[in-house]
């Protein structure tokens, strides 16, 4: 009896999520039982490592299966979950982000005085939600994935209970997040009304049979889009991002900006691009809308970043602008553009994590270490960290030979290929604006005077994580070929 509800294929399609959920729950249990002393809690990292190990192995097996069977995808649960190159690629990115964030968190949380076991469990459970965002092909699955991820983040953003900013950030994020989810669900209900099914495939067929100007389709499109744009912090739905980024523990900010952003983009692509995407046939309606939103996002992100003195806030606005660039890839919508989003997500994972990791090192006992003054004179104090930060910032700005250039390269090329010349010019000119505010940080690091003498808070985990991010940012920039091929596997066919 149970076999018909939960076949071996079904199981195969969700093993990574199962692993993440199991280990997430295991951490909650063992935290109480075997690590009563807070100082031992860093050993919970072993659970995280095991979870990610099994997840990675499962992803690897899924890749191998797809390669050996020659099929582009494998569906489980009657089409609710779909394994394909796209989902697997994004899941690798989530895995890398989760690993790196977990690795640097123990020391940071100890300093912040909030080292609790459930933190690691939340990281894993959020990643479990992301898994379904990247592989779900059913509205219900996708929505549950989204909420699982978002709920974990609401808690993690407010993890510094004693910190007023953290509480405020969590509350803002929760209220606005819930509001946007409402829009999203409303859009989903309209979609169900159109297709009498929650499967993306059926919805896509139903929408394709209607004229693109159909008002019902437009209603569904507009409401869904509002929910999605909120998640990727595109203007004018970006208001939560700076506050949430600033208030959250820096490690969570890193995770939020990289993994949550990537997962939301995966979600967006599932709905807007590819054979299964419900809105793919209504491109002529949403393409101009998204073009306007992308330019608005670039404008808001880049211009608001210019005057920030808090580096976390500055990076928050910069990540808004990066969402704008990725949206442009979807506006172009050809193979280069979609591939460009994948490349962008990949390089963004390393460079943005790296930039936040340097801020993590700046957080010391009694020093918050987020302001421009706190990073001042870093070149004098710890040249290695300053140089790494320089590499990350150059990469974020898109200066070759760092990885960030390749992300921008693909986006610009896709705009040229599809004849969006004006958008291309606007997008390139914002690179010059971006360099201005990134170099405010650089200027402070290299020419400013130290404001205090306290050494940076380093730990073994932080050094490893920084080395990985730094090396990857440079290696992808200098020899990108294997990474570009990897990103190409993610194309939706």
């Amino acid at each position: 009896m149970i076999q018909s509800f939960y076949t071996a294929t079904d199981h195969f399609t969700i093993i990574p999520a199962v692993m993440l959920a199991l280990f997430g729950c295991a951490i909650l249990l063992f935290d109480f039982l075997i690590f009563p002393d807070p100082r031992q809690r860093k050993y919970l990292l072993i659970f995280v490592a095991l979870a990610e190990g099994f997840t990675g192995f499962a992803l690897f097996r899924q890749t191998a299966w797809l390669a050996s069977s020659g099929q582009a995808q494998l569906q489980g649960f009657q089409g609710s979950v779909t394994i394909d190159g796209f989902g697997i690629f994004f899941n690798w990115m989530f895995l890398i982000a989760a690993m790196i964030v977990a690795l640097v968190s123990y020391h940071y949380l100890e300093i912040a005085g909030e080292h609790h076991g459930e933190y690691y469990s939340l990281i894993l459970l959020a990643q479990c939600g992301m898994y379904f965002l990247a592989t779900g092909t059913d509205l219900i699955t996708l929505f549950i994935g989204l909420e699982l991820m978002a709920l974990c983040f609401y808690i993690m953003v407010g993890f510094l209970r004693a910190d007023k900013r953290s509480n405020e950030a969590a509350m803002k994020y929760l209220l606005l997040g819930a509001f946007s989810s409402g829009f999203l669900v409303y859009g989903f209900s309209v979609l169900y009304g159109i297709a009498h099914s929650t499967k993306l495939e059926d919805i896509a067929a139903a929408i394709a049979s209607r004229p693109p100007s159909d008002p019902v389709v437009f209603l569904a499109l507009a409401t869904t889009l509002v929910g999605l744009l909120f998640k990727i912090s595109a203007a004018p739905f970006h208001m939560w991002a700076p506050d949430a980024y600033e208030g959250a523990p820096t490690t969570v900010t890193a995770y939020l900006s990289v993994a949550s952003g990537a997962a939301s983009f995966a979600f967006l692509l599932r709905l807007f691009h590819g054979p299964l995407a419900p809105f793919a046939s209504a491109r002529e309606v949403w393409e101009p809308m998204l073009a306007v939103i992308a330019v608005l996002t670039l404008t808001v992100g880049n211009l608001a970043a210019v005057n920030q003195t808090n580096i976390k806030r500055l990076l928050a606005y910069s990540s808004i602008s990066h969402s704008g660039y990725m949206l442009l890839g979807l506006v172009a919508g050809n193979e280069t553009g979609i591939n460009g989003i994948a490349v962008y997500v990949m390089v963004y994972t390393f460079m943005n994590l790296g930039a936040f990791l340097v801020l993590v090192a700046l957080r010391r006992q009694k020093i918050i270490g987020e302001d421009m003054d706190d990073i001042s004179g870093l070149m004098h104090k710890s040249p290695g960290y300053a140089l790494l930060m320089l590499v990350f910032l150059l990469s974020l700005a898109g200066i070759p030979p760092t990885a960030g250039f390749l992300g921008k390269y693909y986006i610009f090329l896709s705009l040229i290929q599809t004849g969006h010349y004006t958008l291309a010019v606007v997008a390139t000119l914002y690179v010059a604006v971006a360099i201005y505010y990134y170099f405010k940080v650089v200027r402070s690091m290299f020419t400013g005077e130290e404001t205090e003498k306290a050494p940076l808070a380093t730990s073994f985990g932080l050094r490893v994580a920084l080395a990985v991010s730094g090396v990857m940012t440079l290696v992808i920039g200098i020899y990108p070929e294997p990474f570009l091929r990897l990103a190409q596997t993610s194309l939706l066919r």
């Binding site: 150059l394 200066i399 610009f412 201005y436």
Partner: protein
């Protein structure tokens, strides 16, 4: 060894940088010695390029080619023709001279300083030898970062403003140029079905005139800002004035040439139709002439010694671009030679300012006067540098300017007439500068105790003076080297120019050709 000669030249500074990173930053003398050695080695390994370069052979020499990013069609493809040869030699020599002139001027953060210079050196050589557009772009951008730091960390009082202005200006230009490159790249794919950044492949792309013009303007922004041509020159005085001496020397001598080189290597051969378009040529020639005259006039009004030299660059680079857009062998050959000359002369002039600034810590012209009495060696060297920049016969500047004016005259007599005034004004402001600072009686007591040039300081001027005299007295080898690459460019933009059947009437062709480049 032989087939990798160019790579060795390109990577020697980088290798020097890697070793430098392991020298503890406290041992400043060791850092200085090593950096100077590395730069000198960079110059030495580039010498075989001269001896093995075959004059008059078509195409590129010392070519090296390897796949780099196959999925984008980017290659590690380097090589050089006569134009690159001269500019690479200028780069390696000036790199060494710049190191030498920073010996006593830079006292703090020496390790970072010399690291930045070595990185800059590789970037600049890379720009001049890249034959793949992607590779070129990487080197082009690579140059910005070290230069930002050189200005921003070791510069004068307004260094941060100047540094970011330099960075933003050039970056804005180069990202727009990137769009031009991508358009060309995509057009090539459209016609041939393969993505490639190879210059030789991209040259086969046939584009309609309208599109070529757009791409041309995109390239123009990237290159013209770098040169800098008239309306885009405002970053230059700031950057020059605030930069440390060696930074100014490299900026003037080499970095600006990246723009003119870009026009010659990319704009003209890749977009021949747009380059010959009547309107475009006229606009560019007029901008060049405005640059020549405006730059010279502004020089007359300067109270700051270094700013005067900086504006003279605007004027002199105007000659270089005018030569390019004369679109004939004399103009282009003269332009390349003048780029070399400007590198030598203005490099020396900036070093002159550096020497005096190190002693008196002021650049106000009115602070000086009668220095020739106190510093005779300095006076002689400054005189030579100044006269070579003015264009005195038997020194290098004359040959370049004369050839450019000849080319301009062939293209359009009115252009030449206006450009000649630049020569006169150039003589005026430089001689006046010399008179105000060096001649007469010593009026300021502080100037009485200035020490004359040390041995090291004389040594750093000597190779440049020797080079200036060589070009001035016997420029034939240079024109020989340039004849073939220039002919290729001219043949590309004006097919049939040499055989006599010029169709394009945009620039009237004279009945006979005279000139050194013949």
């Amino acid at each position: 060894m032989d087939q990798h000669l160019l790579s060795i030249v390109l990577l020697t500074p980088l290798a020097g940088l890697l070793v430098l990173l392991f020298i503890p930053s406290k041992s400043k003398d060791l850092i200085r010695i090593w950096a100077n050695l590395a730069a000198f080695a960079g110059f030495l390994v580039s010498l075989p390029l001269v001896s093995r370069f075959q004059v008059g052979v078509a195409g590129f020499q010392f070519e090296e080619r390897a796949d780099w990013i196959p999925s984008l069609g980017a290659h590690y493809h380097i090589g050089m023709d006569g134009i690159s040869l001269l500019l690479v030699m200028l780069t390696t020599l000036m790199g060494f001279v710049a190191m030498l002139c920073s010996w006593s001027a830079v006292q703090d953060r020496t390790k970072e300083y010399y690291s930045m210079f070595l990185l800059l050196q590789t970037g600049m050589i890379g720009v001049f030898v890249a034959l793949d557009f992607f590779l070129f772009y990487v080197f082009w951008e690579l140059v910005l970062v070290p230069m930002y730091f050189i200005i921003g960390v070791w510069g004068g009082p307004r260094k941060l403003y100047a540094a970011i202005k330099f960075f933003l200006y050039t970056l804005a230009g180069s990202v727009l140029m990137l769009l031009g490159i991508l358009t060309l790249y995509f057009q090539h794919f459209h016609q041939f079905g393969t993505y490639t950044f190879e210059i030789s492949e991209l040259m086969k792309t046939a584009m309609p005139l309208g599109l070529q013009q757009w791409v041309f303007w995109a390239f123009f922004l990237g290159f013209a800002i770098k040169v800098p041509m008239f309306p885009f020159h405002t970053w230059l005085p700031d950057a020059h004035v605030e930069a440390p001496t060696a930074g100014s020397v490299i900026l003037a001598a080499v970095l600006l040439k990246m723009g003119t080189y870009g026009f010659l290597r990319f704009s003209l051969p890749l977009l021949p139709k747009a380059s010959m378009d009547r309107t475009i040529v006229q606009i560019l020639a007029v901008l060049s002439i405005i640059g020549i005259i405006y730059g010279a006039l502004v020089c007359m009004m300067q109270k700051d010694w270094k700013k005067l030299i900086a504006y003279s660059s605007v004027s002199h680079l105007g000659f270089c671009t005018l030569g390019i857009f004369s679109m004939n062998p004399n103009g282009i050959a003269g332009s390349v030679l003048q780029q070399l000359n400007h590198g030598i002369s203005t490099g020396m002039l900036f070093m002159v300012v550096g020497v005096i600034y190190e002693r008196r810590h002021t650049r106000e012209i009115s602070e000086y006067g009668g220095l020739a009495h106190v510093m005779p060696k300095f006076a002689v060297i400054f005189a030579i540098a100044m006269l070579s920049s003015v264009g005195l016969p038997l020194l290098n500047g004359f040959v370049g300017e004369f050839t450019i004016l000849m080319g301009a005259f062939e293209a359009n007599r009115i252009w030449a007439a206006f450009a000649v005034t630049g020569v006169i004004l150039g003589a005026a402001y430089l001689l006046w500068l010399y008179q105000r600072t060096m001649l007469g009686q010593v009026t300021n007591g502080k100037n009485l105790v200035i020490p004359d040039l040390s041995f090291r300081e004389v040594a750093m001027f000597l190779p440049l003076i020797a080079w200036a005299v060589w070009i001035g007295v016997y420029p034939k080898p240079y024109f020989d080297i340039l004849r073939q690459p220039v002919a290729e460019i001219v043949e590309r933009v004006r097919p049939g120019y040499y055989s006599g059947g010029v169709q394009n009437a945009a620039i009237p062709r004279p009945a006979t050709q005279v000139g050194v480049a013949q």
